[in-house]
Amino acid sequence: MRQSLAAKIGITVYLLVLMLPIYWLINMSLRTNTDIVSGLAIFPHHPTLEKYIAIFNDPDWIHAFGVSLTYVAINTVVSVTVALPAAYAFNRYAFVGDKHLFFWLLTNLMAPPAIFAMPFFQLYYAVGLFDTIWGVALAHCLFNVPLAVWILEGFVGGVPREIDETAAIDGYSFPRFFIRIFLPLIANGIGVTAFFCFMFSWVEQLLATNLTSARALPFAAVMTRAYSVNGMDWSLLAAAGVLTMIPGAVVIWFVRNHIAKGFALGRV
């Protein structure tokens, strides 16, 4: 399908509108607090990198950034890896309790966090996972693993069953078939799932900040410094916000070809 002119104009307009608040965030990050509160400025009159420099010179921010990246990466890899065989099983086989189990997975995303969070922290404290990177990565599996199973199941369903059968007849063992033939076929599903796992783990704040105290303090926790007794540090928060977008943007840049990968039948 060719992209028509109307589609091009529509996309451009959508992207421009989408970018306005983000432009505002960048704008705010380049201004001082007094400047932000004093009046409307479409362009920063005296742009300053002061807050960015402050963030980069503070070991707490750098450490927190590394911590966040580490648990998000662990979580993404674990979630996608355990979800792949499960998604295949749910789509291809009938087994005792399959439908209920599949729906039960989703119910783990439904709990209102305010009350459920308290016993959650007690549990992690009791088993010694409090204030560890692995603890946060594991906690985020609660919502990312079900999400990954659900998204991947949809993409597994898009692959015709005949392909599995043909591969079996051609003498492929199951693991070899799964890795060599099947995974490339659902590459766009894996790409988009990996991105969503990364994203949901990256922006999650309640569990990440409350499950940690010092060693594994995530970026979001250090960010709360912007809300101090002396009032809001708008431009510091904006600068930190701009920086938090970067890793996710890099991730989607790397998986872009997978997400946009066309499905060509018969090239198995």
Binding site: G10, F103, L105, I115, G158, A249
Partner: protein
């Protein structure tokens, strides 16, 4: 559609998933059930309270029941509004996105950006962005002569939260739909072209049915998130003006943490949880039935 072969060994494929999810889910959930039937006088002294908290909550003549009733309808209306805007818009954008070339990567990155910002920062950007004196959005609307005021005007507050949610989360629908569209084999489009199908017919008969599974996930996710929306109204409107944007989660936090009422808070959590579960289950069952009927 051929029926799936029965194979109970498939359980082994699912076990790792179960282990990871159950570790974090069972004990907290049971503890909440435990709280919901108890009352506390603080300092860890709990006593049995039976179903009192549930009765009060579901009876609209009590104070807490009336609050719950109002917040529930407000939240349902909000979820529905967001879904009705985000899903069609998301599909439309996904259809319009380029399919190959340099523009693909850039479009995808830009579309993903709003989702990558931590939620408290999103609230804070919009808090400034919607102010009439120092924010672009607020200044533009006031400049057009609209009576726009997030903290005092109910319609402004409501529509602002909807706009924030649409801005923030339509990209999720776009990305899912786009990946789903790309997973449709080319052969289907070729067949449509040979049959001389119109653009609309191609969409309604090929693309939409093939997108169904992805869209079910998008709708369920968006429903669950909008139903439990907290950060945006908390930061931008504080639940006001009056109680215009006091959605369920805001009310819950006020009761559970503000008034330190664990029993009522836990009962409320469980009731929300069951409502979400029921709505999702009904929606999911209908969609699965539709799919089965189409394939039959």
């Amino acid at each position: 559609m051929t029926t799936k072969p029965v194979n109970n060994y498939a359980w082994f494929f699912v076990l790792p998933v179960l282990a990871f999810v159950m570790f974090s889910s069972i004990i907290p959930a049971m503890t909440v059930v435990n709280y919901s039937v108890q009352d506390t006088l603080g300092a860890n002294s709990f006593f049995w309270n039976g179903d009192t908290a549930f009765r009060a909550l579901l009876n609209p003549t009590t104070e807490i029941g009336a609050r719950f009733n109002d917040a529930l309808f407000r939240t349902l209306a909000f979820s529905l509004t967001c879904l009705l805007i985000e899903v069609p818009l998301g599909i439309l954008v996904a259809l319009c996105l380029p399919r190959k070339g340099w523009a693909v990567g850039i479009s995808l990155v830009l579309i993903a950006l709003p989702m990558l910002i931590p939620w408290n920062v999103i609230g804070t950007i919009w808090q400034i962005f919607t102010r009439a004196d120092i924010g672009l959005f607020g200044a533009a609307l006031t400049g057009l002569g609209l009576p726009y005021n997030v903290t005092q005007n109910t319609i402004s507050a409501w529509s602002t939260i909807v706009v924030i949610d649409v801005w923030h989360w339509t990209p999720l629908v776009v990305l899912l739909s786009y990946a789903g569209l790309r997973a449709i084999p080319d052969a289907y489009y070729q067949a449509a072209r040979i049959d001389g199908a119109s653009r609309w017919a191609t969409f309604a008969n090929i693309e939409l049915p093939k997108l169904q599974k992805v869209l079910v996930i998008a709708v369920l996710l968006r429903f669950m998130q909008t139903f439990m929306i907290y950060t945006e109204p908390f930061v931008v409107t504080g639940g006001g003006p009056g109680s215009a944007t006091t959605f369920l989660s805001i009310d819950l936090v006020k009761i559970a943490l503000g008034q330190v009422d664990l029993g009522n808070g836990a009962a409320m959590s469980l009731v929300y949880y069951l409502i979400t579960l029921t709505v999702c289950w009904v929606f999911y069952t209908i969609m699965t039935q539709l799919e089965r009927r189409r394939d039959a």
